[in-house]
């Protein structure tokens, strides 16, 4: 049974876990993380996030807005964000493309906000109800110019909840937009779920209490460096600016500004890179996976164990900034890194850059609109292990 009211849901959940849809879990995570402002535009397969928040936000004193398109949606979120609100918007491929210019504005004006992109098959209208991971590099490089990006990837319903919370936290702490990627299957699947358990989840990358919001919304208002409407008369601009907030053409200052934007993200990789390793140190083949493919990878691991194959799984929750340390650490000890993903090898290219010196990176892309089955991964693993043994 699925309930419309998440507040009802929350009461129920105290007793036992319930069947919840991924998109609704995302909305619930947003509410629990203190998001009180949503502006969006309907698009399959993300509309349920919007529909749930349309219901729930007014009940907790928040603002829900349906805008005329995705450009207006993200701009409204930026406006709200600059007044100290915690703002979130949700969309899918075509809408995410429209948001790109404003996303760059949010980066340069350091406006914290969360963009959830429930990926569908593209380009363009593509196949709207089909899962895909085709927007991975767009999430990294979609907006023009050199810019940092924080990109998370959810693989199940509980992830939709906890990674939404993590995204809110990262956005506030690093004062930058954070993209949460899901795909049609993760957004629409229903799984048993309890916020309690999802929030207490442990990762190999360290204890990460997803339920703890980094800065309370009230506090954001206190520490906001260029908050509008707080009698500080700030100036916020999409131009390159110096510490006064006003534009500058000074080469030194411009360079310093761009480096600072980067460094605040890249220098905190240890904090930002969330991952989980299964069967750590026991594999000759590492399946590196994220999003819905990570589910298949975990299932493939169980199958491989039954066959006695030496496999480990590196499940990435943070795609960008690149989790260089952990990928290289694993790369040093495995013969192959196998990367199943629902695109033509977008992330495999990134992994290759990081790991090529130590291991053979094998891309396993699929773009027919169906998921990668555990059995398919297993077959590739068997092939690779066979190759390894024959060397």
């Amino acid at each position: 049974m699925e309930l419309w009211h998440t507040h009802l849901l929350r009461e129920k959940i105290d007793q036992d876990s319930l069947l919840v849809q991924g998109n609704r879990a995302c909305a619930l995570g947003a509410l629990d993380a203190g998001v009180r402002f949503f502006a969006g535009y309907p698009i399959t397969p993300s509309s349920e996030i919007m529909e749930t928040l349309a219901r729930e936000l007014p009940l907790v004193g928040g603002v829900f807005l349906q805008m005329e398109d995705e450009i207006a949606s993200i701009c409204a979120c930026i406006g709200a964000s600059l007044t100290g609100e915690v703002a979130l918007t949700a969309t899918s491929g075509p809408g995410f493309s429209l948001m790109q210019e404003a996303l760059g504005y949010a980066v340069i004006s350091e406006a914290p906000l969360v963009v959830v992109n429930v990926m569908r098959m593209g380009p363009s209208t593509g196949r709207p109800t089909t899962p895909s991971q085709g927007d991975v590099m767009q999430a990294r490089w979609g907006t023009h110019g050199d810019h940092p990006a924080i990109v998370l990837a959810a693989s199940n319903v509980a992830d939709m909840y906890r990674l939404t919370m993590a995204a809110v936290r990262f956005a506030q702490r690093f004062r930058t937009p954070v993209t949460l990627l899901a795909d049609e299957v993760v957004g629409h699947m229903r799984e048993s779920f309890s916020p309690e358990l999802a929030g207490r989840y442990r990762l190999t990358s360290g204890d990460f209490d997803f339920t703890e919001t980094y800065i309370h919304p009230e506090m954001v208002r206190e520490v906001h460096p260029h908050q509008l409407g707080a009698l500080r008369h700030p100036h916020v601009t999409g131009l390159i600016h110096d510490e006064t907030g006003f534009p500058t053409n000074d080469p030194k200052k411009s360079e310093q500004f761009l480096y600072e934007l980067h460094d605040k993200v890249v220098h905190h990789r240890d904090e930002l890179c969330l991952y989980d390793i299964k069967n750590e140190g026991r594999g000759r083949v590492c399946i590196l996976a994220y999003g819905s493919c990570a589910r298949s990878a975990r299932a493939a691991l169980r199958l491989a164990e039954q066959e006695g194959l030496p496999v480990e799984v590196l499940h990435l929750y943070t795609l960008f900034p690149l989790p260089v340390e952990i990928v290289q650490k694993v790369a040093r000890r495995v013969e192959f890194m196998l990367i199943p993903e629902l695109n033509l090898g977008q992330y495999a290219r990134e992994v290759r850059k990081m790991a090529e010196n130590w291991t053979t990176v094998v891309s396993m892309g699929k773009v027919d609109g169906t998921l990668i089955a555990p059995q398919e991964i297993l077959e590739r693993v068997e092939e690779l292990v066979g190759k390894y043994e024959s060397i």
Binding site: M50, E51, P58, Q66, E68, D69
Partner: protein, 348 residues
């Protein structure tokens, strides 16, 4: 039944039995029972046949349930990103002025994300024809609020009914475009009853005829039922258009810059639909917001459509005789001020 005429280039119509238009594919549509898209597309096909332009017509489809028109009309088709059809149509028409170019767009597509494109196509007076299917809702994505959703109407993103305080007011597209000098012909029709359907056909045919005579931008707004997302049966949906929607969006010619030149196309008197009596810029707000003592707008008490968060049909209570005008004459005399969708006090 002139609108059933088969593809003769002559504009002189003869009553014939229903024949399948050449420009319409012989397939069953996927549209929901009671949907207005099918009727509108049939009328389009008839008009293209009658004007004899099927072979040189290019349709530009929008994103929405409207997009599936490419399955049903036997003309060249292009789809464009959500809202951008008028820009693509502009490109086609400017590159090949000999082609007959039309866009076929829903209300979410045209009046929300595509507002800039439609306004500027009209301002440039592009010589194209726009068929604008207004069903007051985002159909394809599952019934969210559209810019055209009526005050008080329930949708997936305004489940208590559209509240002007939160969501603003519905957009009357044809009236808005009428302020632009580039817009030559704007008419609003509906596809509910045979009389209305006939009027719709005449409007569509005329819009294409204007294009053939290089008149510039024309748009026909079609009030079209979406029973699925309104939570109504097809017949309730038709009634809702006749009794409520077409009172907020009055039927008839909104603007026609060249009626004299085209008298030969207008062999028929204006449609005798009740809404047609509300021509021009005189309309009343139905189910509109009520002002309280302080003058603030309050939420209408009787939203239409889905009830109680479930996908149930609207009950006949919403159509209580005392809460709607007796007949067209009452509406005409201006006596309708306190009628129509006004919440009845004894209603809970």
């Amino acid at each position: 039944m002139d609108w059933c005429t088969e593809g003769t280039p002559s504009l002189v119509t003869a009553p014939v039995v229903t024949r399948h238009p050449r420009a319409l594919e012989s397939v069953a549509t996927h549209y929901c029972p009671g949907c207005g898209h099918g009727i509108t597309q049939r009328l389009l096909a008839n008009a293209l046949d009658e004007l004899g332009v099927r072979e040189r017509t290019v349709g530009v489809a929008a994103i929405g349930c409207s997009v599936l028109i490419y399955n049903y009309l036997d003309v060249d088709f292009q789809e464009l990103p959500h809202g951008r059809a008028p820009a693509g149509a502009t490109g086609i028409k400017r590159a090949r002025p000999d082609l007959v170019v039309f866009t076929y767009q829903g209300d979410g597509d045209l009046a929300a994300i595509g507002t800039a494109e439609i306004v500027h196509a009209a301002a440039r007076s592009e010589n194209i024809t726009v068929i604008f299917v207004n069903n007051c809702v985002y159909g394809m994505t599952g019934g969210q609020m559209a810019p055209t959703t009526l005050v008080g109407q329930r949708s997936e993103t305004c489940r208590e009914g559209r509240d002007p305080k939160l969501h603003g007011y519905p957009v009357r597209v044809a009236e808005m475009l009428a302020t632009l000098d580039g817009a030559v012909y704007l008419e609003r029709v509906s596809v509910t009853h045979p009389e209305n359907v006939k009027a719709a056909y005449r409007a569509i045919r005329k819009a294409f005829a204007y294009q053939l005579e290089d008149r510039g931008f024309s748009l026909v707004e079609v009030l079209s039922p979406c029973p699925t997302n309104w939570g109504m049966t097809p017949s309730e949906a038709v009634r809702w258009i006749d009794e409520v929607v077409s009172r907020y969006y009055p039927l008839g010619v909104i603007k026609d810059c060249a009626p004299v030149h085209f008298a030969h196309l207008l062999e028929h008197p204006p449609a005798e639909s009740p809404g047609a009596k509300l021509h021009g810029f005189h309309y009343e707000t139905v189910a509109g917001p009520e002002a309280d003592e302080s003058g603030r707008l309050t939420r209408p008490q009787q939203p239409f459509g889905r009830r109680g968060g479930r996908w149930t049909a609207i009950s006949s209570k919403d159509f209580q005789p005392e809460s709607r005008p007796e007949s067209g004459s009452q509406a005409e005399s201006g006596g309708a001020a306190g009628s129509a969708g006004d919440p009845t006090p004894e209603d809970p």
